[in-house]
């Protein structure tokens, strides 16, 4: 029999949406709202209310018929699922434009997930602090990751250094990697990897803009 507290078969897409729901819920809470309907969440996220209810069904949360979902309760439940009880520590490697943008943005946003170290090879950056995050020499990566028990790393070094950096991080015991360089990296199967490239997203936008334009012109063949 399926246990209500077993969350390891949740669809990947549901995990991503739960994170987004929480973001929206936190915003609503801060505006003094206490309850929310599935169609309200749906509108914010550009999805259907059924999708929302299905996701919430999968995590075993029930709302009330006329008031909808209790925002605080739901935030807390999503936290139980996504967050690690003890919290997870994150490092960012490459304190350049992108690394700084991410640190600025993320700092203090989630208390169970915090960027606690940055690494760089540029002597001018080593020793500085960025939004409370100290920048260490990249040569100390392994030492500090082990000492602090850092489990997740974000890679924002120049593309040509991506794979070497990834190898060092894996050797240091990292369990999850988020690679923002345009160079796909290889990791052993026990490391969870996500990669993101803005050019892919932008080209996707461009493709659909092109398609809409051709459609308007009545052209259906390239």
């Amino acid at each position: 029999m399926e246990d209500r507290g077993t969350f390891d078969h949740l669809p990947h897409k549901t995990i991503a949406r739960l994170s987004q729901y929480r973001r929206a819920l936190l915003l609503c809470l801060s505006r003094g709202k206490s309850h929310i309907f599935s169609h309200e969440i749906a509108t914010i996220q550009h999805i259907t209310p059924v999708q929302v209810r299905r996701d919430l069904m999968l995590i075993g949360y029930s709302g009330t018929l006329r008031k909808g979902y209790n925002i605080k309760e739901l935030i807390s439940l999503i936290g139980n699922i996504i967050d690690s009880e003890e919290g997870l520590k994150v490092a960012i490697v490459g304190m350049g434009n992108l690394g700084r943008a991410l640190i600025n943005y993320f700092s203090g946003k989630r208390h169970k997930l915090s960027i606690i170290a940055g690494f760089d090879t540029n002597p001018d950056k080593i020793g500085n602090t960025m939004n409370g995050v100290p920048c260490y020499s990249a040569t100390r990566m392994r030492e500090i990751i082990e000492k602090e028990g850092i489990q997740i790393a974000i890679i924002t070094v120049p593309a040509e250094n991506a794979s070497q950096t990834a190898n060092e991080l894996v050797a240091a015991g990292i369990k999850g990697l988020l690679n923002y360089t345009p160079k796909p990296i290889d990791v052993p199967e026990y490391v969870y990897l996500e990669e993101y490239d803005m050019i892919t997203t932008l080209e996707k936008v461009a493709f659909y803009v092109k398609m809409k334009t051709l459609e308007e012109k009545g052209i259906t063949t390239i």
Copy 2:
């Protein structure tokens, strides 16, 4: 009968992968390679060779049995599909940390897609040029978008200004939007929208790291 040159039913995921294939192919080309096998592309992209061949089948490209795919030809075909013949112009709104990181990264990478204008409200930034991209006052958005025929915009303003910025961009005639603020925006159906939030990605990584850890400990219930 289905025309070989009709690309409007390609799966969304295939579009994203084509962009990634091209990125990998360009790299291989620059290293002097002329042909590539499906399993080589697959290894780079962390997918299966079958997936690659299926995608290429969908776009109607054939390789040769013992040499694989002709890299130049394939790059060119992917270009025919993704790129607009005349090229598309892109604007970036909000020339802060993230905006600058994206401009730096993207500049000159794709010749059929170019960021040609930035907008900001900060007088210190207006009038400057960043990597060849001029920064205009946000009050001139509509004027310049119309004059230049800009069709795509990237939003990197503070979250509280996201929806107003989006509205102005839509009013100015933008056809595609890429929203990097954590505030989901609403657009009419004729505008293609993509949103990306790094926190969602990072939380997904955190969730799977947590799961792997619990698994190792033999815990299957939270």
